[in-house]
């Protein structure tokens, strides 16, 4: 099956995009939701500002779901929804739209991602604490097994673990442990004789990196482990249920902003890794576009990714042979090595009481692995062509267009969406909504299955924010561990780090107290890997680091900066909402009397750098600035200049880079 992950701006615009992709030969639908939808906020909520329609389509109620699926035959479509904390809600909306179009929910086919543990570990779009989140998942599995029997209710993701720095061993071990946590929770809610079918409905979503031989071995190892777990832990016998089913999104961590045309061959090689051997071939592949590290891909960029898959499937002879690696000593050896490592790591997770109890342990382990990776890249031990080697280049032929090679979302879309949801609330039967939400609250506080009242609320016209709000009342709010507190102390080996440490000590003496930095992530974007690495590195060179994790409002950041007395503020943002959010943060800081310089890092297109600097940002870092030590040098120099004046500064960095 071939898909491209898509959705943006509004339900109507996304619907146009889906229809044109289907016309080009795409055989499934992969819906990307915007961050407010993923985290359970309506477009007019304070935290949604700047995020509406940015990384996906906003779906606030069943009206939006009708619009996004307009004219698409749901009984023929296989729909993948990248949705987790609010998966029960989005599935309910999908079911209600099908019903209102006269279809039987039993005919629906597709997948909800619905993997909450990796949200706590890597992706950050959780909404509720771990225990009730697991219960929501178990309720969905128990409901769909009979209610929507062709639906894959859970798609265990190792994809994001690799993006967060996981080694292949960690990726295998944590994904399997995660699946075990889900299945253990479901086992308490369904009769044992259904466990085979439940097991057979769990699918995986894995990552494929550019080391494609090892990646292929990883998939074979996962298939072995999965069958073993099914047989031994859950007593599954049917070979059909025991098959390891997975989809793939190839790696975007390895895609680069500099010389972005090279990403095309990376994507091709990664696609090869997951299709090469028939015994471990992906069922569904979605390829990122070459310009993901730059911003939002345009329709033509997505078409290119689809064509890569079509060339692979229809032009090459790849699909004509039995398994290419059968009997290969090298492949068997690789698989055995990975299995051994993964089993050992799974045992450690088990000692922490399973994946839910081990979230903190796994998070810290990932932060450590990611740091090791960055260190290898900085030291040149891991080569990334065009980034730390072969950097001499002609201008990229792909960036020549007037739009700078990316799609930009019309800022008007957010305002329209805000007004639309207000209109929706005004025009519906409020009494029916209130009653449905009251029932939902009661079921959430008790033991019943959450799906029935969720579907009833969807039918009545409740909004995403209202559904999630009712559950937040019952379950409480939650902030996931950041992993940075537990990360081990950094290596003392590098001279550059030692020199920086001395400079931090010197500047701290001038300041009178230790140089203190606030690292924050404004908005709903939960991709915290970059911010975590900055926080850990800042500590390693001797700064005091206030790190508050994700999902902060500008006024929270300003209050923390003021109360903590920080000397510099570092903001990280990847969702594309920097144009709205960053100037607001800077303004709010100044209004509260905080004059500390502000630096920003993230996926920020070249054209947006100048306006941010104009808004008072001291420096902007993009994915091409991979050298953390250099960034740190800049930051220390920036603080030195602020406290000593420009002439006295003796910083190591080359000054603010843009």
């Amino acid at each position: 099956m071939m898909r491209t992950y898509a959705g943006h701006s509004t339900a109507r615009k996304s619907n146009e995009l889906y229809r044109s992709n289907i016309a080009k030969g795409q055989t499934g639908l992969s819906i990307a939701f915007d961050l407010p939808t993923q985290t359970g906020y309506d477009p007019d909520h304070e935290l949604a500002r700047g995020e509406v329609g940015k990384v996906g389509v906003p779906i606030a109620h069943k009206g939006d779901m009708h619009a996004v699926l307009d004219g698409i035959a749901l009984d023929e479509m296989n729909t993948s929804m990248t949705i987790n904390a609010t998966a029960a809600w989005l599935l309910a909306l999908y079911i209600v739209v099908a019903e209102e179009n006269g279809l039987d929910p039993a005919a629906l086919q597709g997948t909800t991602q619905n993997d909450i543990i990796k949200e706590f570990l890597a992706r950050g779009t959780y909404a509720f604490p771990p225990a009730p989140s697991m219960r929501l998942i178990a309720d969905m599995v128990a409901y769909t097994i009979d209610g929507v029997p062709r639906w894959n209710p859970v798609n265990i993701c190792s994809y994001h673990l690799q993006e967060a720095g996981a080694t292949p061993v960690q990726e295998i071990a944590y994904a399997m442990s995660n699946a075990i946590a889900v299945l253990d929770a479901v086992r308490e809610r369904v009769p044992q004789e259904l466990m085979g079918r439940v097991f057979g409905r769990i699918s995986f979503f894995v990552n494929a990196g550019v080391r494609f031989v090892e990646e292929h071995a990883k998939l074979r190892a996962m298939a072995v482990l999965w069958e073993e777990i099914g047989r031994e832990r859950y007593g599954v016998r049917d070979p059909k249920h025991l098959r390891f089913r997975y989809g793939v999104q190839v790696n975007s961590l390895g895609l680069t902003e500099s010389q972005p045309e090279n990403n095309v061959q990376r994507i091709v090689l990664e696609a090869l890794g997951v299709t090469l051997g028939r015994d471990a071939r992906a069922r569904a592949i979605q390829l990122p576009a070459w310009n993901e590290a730059l911003g939002l891909p345009r329709p033509g960029d997505q078409q290119w990714s689809l064509r890569i898959q079509q060339v692979l499937a229809y032009e090459t002879d790849l699909l004509e042979y039995p398994d290419l690696f059968e009997g290969s000593k090298v492949m068997d050896g690789l698989v055995a090595e990975l299995l051994e490592g993964a089993r050992a790591e799974m045992a450690i997770v088990d000692e922490h009481g399973g994946a839910v109890g081990a979230v903190q342990y796994m998070k810290a382990a990932l932060v450590d692995s990611h740091r090791a990776r960055i260190r290898r890249i900085e030291a040149g031990e891991q080569v990334i062509v065009g980034v730390n080697r072969f950097t001499e280049t002609e201008p990229s032929p792909l960036l020549a267009g007037a739009d700078g090679g990316i799609l930009t979302v019309d800022p008007q879309a957010e305002a329209e969406q805000r007004e639309a949801v207000e209109r929706w609330r005004a025009e519906r039967d409020q009494a029916a909504v209130d009653e449905a939400l009251a029932t939902l609250r009661a079921v959430a506080a008790g033991e019943g299955n959450i799906m029935e009242p969720t579907i009833a609320a969807a039918r009545a016209g409740a909004t995403t924010g209202e559904w999630a709000g009712a559950l937040r009342d019952a379950f409480g709010e939650f902030r996931a561990p950041t992993g940075v507190g537990e990360a081990a102390a950094g290596p003392a080996d590098s001279q550059a780090l030692e020199a920086l440490r001395e400079e931090v000590a010197r500047v701290s003496d001038v300041l009178g107290r230790r140089l203190k930095i606030l690292v924050g992530k404004p908005g709903l974007d939960g991709h915290s890997n970059g911010a975590e690495q900055i926080a850990v590195r800042a500590r390693d060179i001797g700064m005091d680091v206030v790190y508050e994790g994700i999902r902060l409002t500008p006024s929270q950041i300003a209050a923390s900066a003021l109360q903590e007395g920080v000397h510099v503020v570092g903001l990280s943002i990847l969702s594309g909402s920097h144009r709205e959010l960053i100037p607001t943060v800077v303004r709010t800081l100044r209004e509260r009397g905080v004059d500390a310089p502000v630096v920003v890092g993230g996926i920020i297109p070249e054209a947006d750098v100048e306006p941010l600097l104009d808004a008072g940002v001291a420096a902007v870092y993009t994915p091409k600035d991979f050298d953390l030590t250099r960034i740190m040098g800049d930051i220390v120099a920036l603080v030195a200049r602020a406290c000593e004046g420009p002439s006295a500064a003796s910083g190591h960095g080359a000054g603010a880079s843009a």
Binding site: P129, G476, V546
Partner: protein, 316 residues
């Protein structure tokens, strides 16, 4: 802004002075030390006409016991009761590099537009559970303006002693199933806290057993008055109001003046030792002699004045 000005603002109950006060007390060097002394003079018992009005609460316990989450709920309850709160969160993660990751405030939800809550994270200078001189000074200073000042530290067996030197009431927080506190209590390694809190009461049986065991241990030590409370700081939240009441009850039964006097003298000794080391203490004739000298000093004196008393004796 000078130390004296900041002290005056605190004396008048100006909560917006807090960030600048912390920036000052955390600063090193002789000039800053002079300014801190000036600040503390402005809010000394003599200047205030009595002890500072705040309830200084120490919250301590082993890592992972759920202190920050509990604090989040306590802050919410105190605010709901109209009390202003300052939290001094001492983070243990001090590293060889000298830097520290301060992650505690992430777990204390607060309304950024509410000036009645102030949270400041500080790196512990050195060992687990230790209080930096700045934290003692900050607790003294903020207690002139806030209704509640919390000092949060990590550790067992040492930290509650140090926290007791600045706090009116000390709550030790443990999670069910961690035997350390029980063993330390029985072995007499740790001081008896004013309130014991067992978190994660949602674990029902396990939490009940932990509570019973702690009660039994206290009884065997002849301590029957120490409340042992079970709380759950995640939804559905339970036991927080009881904890607030238990802390208030302890404070109500306390000779605040005597405890604060002891706190100031202990702080002075710690500051002196931090500044002059063991050699300095020996010059005074040892720790015991230093304590006697402090006990003979003016009960209304602030900490810097008491440190000067000790330094005067070295010089003499």
């Amino acid at each position: 802004m000078t130390g004296a000005e900041l002290g005056a603002r605190l004396r008048e109950g100006d909560l917006t002075a807090a960030p600048a006060v912390l920036n000052l007390v955390e600063s090193g060097g002789p000039a800053a030390r002079e300014e801190v002394a000036a600040l503390l003079r402005e809010i000394s018992p003599a200047a205030l006409g009595g002890e500072a009005p705040a309830h200084v609460v120490g919250v301590t316990g082993p890592p992972g016991a759920g202190k920050s989450t509990l604090l989040g709920e306590l802050v919410r309850a105190w605010r709901a009761g109209g009390r202003s709160v300052a939290v001094l969160a001492v983070d243990p993660s001090s590293r060889r590099s000298g830097g520290a990751l301060l992650g505690d405030r992430a777990r204390i939800p607060f309304d950024p537009s509410d000036d009645g809550v102030f949270i400041r994270s500080t790196a512990a200078a050195g060992r687990l559970g230790g209080l930096a001189p700045a934290t003692r000074a900050a607790a003294h200073a903020l207690s002139a303006a806030y209704d509640v000042v919390v000092v949060e530290t990590v550790g067992v067996g040492q930290s509650e002693t140090e926290v007791a030197e600045v706090a009116d009431s000390v709550a030790v927080v443990v999670q069910p199933g961690s035997g350390d506190v029980l063993q330390f209590l029985k072995a007499g390694i740790m001081e008896i806290p004013d309130v014991l809190v067992v978190t994660k009461a949602d674990l029902r049986e396990v939490a009940l057993r932990a509570r019973r065991d702690l009660h039994a241990a206290l009884r065997s030590l002849g301590e029957t008055d120490v409340p042992v409370l079970a709380v759950c700081a995640v939804a559905p939240v339970t036991g927080i109001d009881d904890l607030v009441a238990a802390l208030d009850a302890h404070r109500a039964g306390l000779d605040v003046a005597a405890r604060r006097l002891a706190a100031r003298r202990a702080s002075a000794l710690a500051d002196f030792a931090a500044e002059h080391g063991e050699r300095g203490l020996r010059a005074l004739g040892g720790r015991r002699a230093a304590q006697q000298a402090l006990e003979a000093s003016d009960p209304g004196a602030d900490v810097p004045a008491l440190v000067s008393v000790l330094e005067g004796r070295v010089g003499a």
